[in-house]
Amino acid sequence: MSERILSVLVEDKPGVLARVSSTISRRGFNINSLSVGPTNIEGRSKMTIVTELDAVEQVKKQLNKLVNVIKIVELDPNMTIETEVLLLKVSINKDSQTSVIEKASLSNATSVDVGQDFAIFELTGSSKELDKFEALMKPFGIIEMVRGGRIALQSNL
């Protein structure tokens, strides 16, 4: 099953995130990623929802029924600029330090904090790039990691 990306324009009202996520889960569908934030329009937020559904049409229709949902666009993966952010805390010691930093900079990750025995990197990119970076760091011992929701814009809309 391939991923589907929905870009959902909503009214910035209390409870709107709960309404959207509960509508999706109530119909028995999973969300791979959900992110929400303000837009350039006052009083409007945008959610980017990534799911793996054949039933995406039904989800769109159910979401459209929500009074606070203004517009739903399914993004065309071929025309879509998509990005995600990652913060990763990895252990380092004298032996691994150089190698970790080298690998990180080759991956275009920025180091945001370095301590005695750890380093924190930030990386922005496609989900695949983030996966790759995670795999690269794994052998050194990942202490903690967090990924932000995926956000997307279609270039020809």
């Binding site: 309404r19 509960s22 049409e57 159910q62 606070n68």
Partner: protein, 570 residues
Amino acid sequence: MTKEQLTGAELVIRGLEYLNVSTVFGVPGGAILPAYDPLYDSPIRHILARHEQGAGHMAEGYAQATGELGVVIATSGPGATNLITPLANALMDSTPLLAITGQVASTAIGNDAFQEAYTVGLSMAATKHNYLITDASEIPQVLKEAKFIATTGRPGPVLVDIPKDILNQVAAWVEPGDLDLPGYKPTTEPNPKMVQQASSLIKKSKKPILYVGGGIIHSKANNELFELATKFHIPVVTTLMGRGAFPDGHELCLEMPGMHGNYTATTSIQNADLLIAIGVRFDDRVTANPSFFAQNAKVIHADIDPAEIGKVRDAQVPIVGDAKSVIKGLIEALGDEKLDTENWVSELKEMKTEFPLSYKQEDKGPLKVPYVLEELQKLTKEEAIVVAGVGQHQMWVSQHWNFTEPNTWLNSGGLGTMGYALPAAIGAKTAYPDKLVLALDGDGCFQMTCQELITASTENIPIKIVVFNNGNHGMVRQWQKIFYNSKFSASELTHDTPDYLKLAESMGAVGLRMMEKSDIEKVFNKMLEINDRPVLVDCVVDPEDMVFPMVPAGGSNDQIIMNEEDLKNL
């Protein structure tokens, strides 16, 4: 001129008056008390229910009988949680409802204050939309929005939760203005291209069926439906929610299809080459296993809710729009077309004669519900509003009662809520004091909300209740008989506890009893004569009786169980 300053509570009552609300149902309590103070001085009639579930069903019955908004008021916490069942019920059956609940003070929200429940969260999946008021000045506008959302598009319940301090806060009465709902714009006018496509499918069809439901009733499209069906000779099946949308007894009316539908209605769909589905949602009680449903038919599906189209069954022609406009469009597009349905109509007519609904009432034997119903309808001269509970009796009423007008059949179709009938009948009778309102209930259902009989008698709402007393959760017993080797686990009630006559009397109603055939006329005539108090008839019926036809859940509508004999071949 300075604007009139009112409390939030006064704004609520003023707002309801402004929206032409004349009757509300409810139960007071701490958080909502401020609103009950100005309500006392308002021309709005308040009916004090004995349980918030009852109040909610009353508001539903009011709304379903009138097609207008029903309003229910409850307090915070348990008052609001007791409302969840009627809200979910109204959502399933698309009933326009406004629920106003009190909430703990906004400063206390989130602290597990006394009688605090997260009402907006709890009701989110049981409402079309809901609100938490954060400032008294919002109240008039929110109430107007709430009514608009509840009554337009696909109707449904809307809840407005108001913290107690907001009810006491003072703000100006400002007449509500235009609504700003950028995400809520129901499509009512169908796309003419789709209507054209539908009409060309209809023109080619030799075996069309109009499969219609509650949407016709909500849209008040019964006259248009009648014209469409009769002008072009298209047979009609009416779902459980659509009974009365097309008159029973008309030669084109096949009545109810589905799990307990009659043979011809169910089979007509199986044999059709085209389903013209309007205001229906292909519910599993109609389709059984959808893969075996109407396998030879193309589908035109018209509904005001786009999410219903293609949800269960793909449609060759999807039409989003209000039923009335859709049907008008179809009539116009079909023009003077003569459909070639003569063979089809007569085939179905023969089928009706060959496979009628059947039951056997013996002269000295126990009473059978279908027989009692047919006798009752003969004795009622006027068109009654009939309200049923959930179970065997409900199916028998839908099968055997002749419905000829919309809004005369109220029941809990989608959620199947036991306890609905009595309070819903009270709501209907409140709206139409001069109409005959009959609650035809099961003993199990009745016992779920029977305290509302007190509401009926103290508020002077003389409904008539027939309790079909089979001493059982009859429908559960029927399933246990068929699917669980007659192991009657927890389905037995008792015939004689409560004593329904004493119960009725103690609650200010008249109690009557019928046990055998010879009682029927006498007892029902007495019931129909008494109009100054509610009347309850304890109608003792055969506990062994089963509802047929039947298609087991998940089965195929091609395999209809017609009687107990057929069960042996299962």
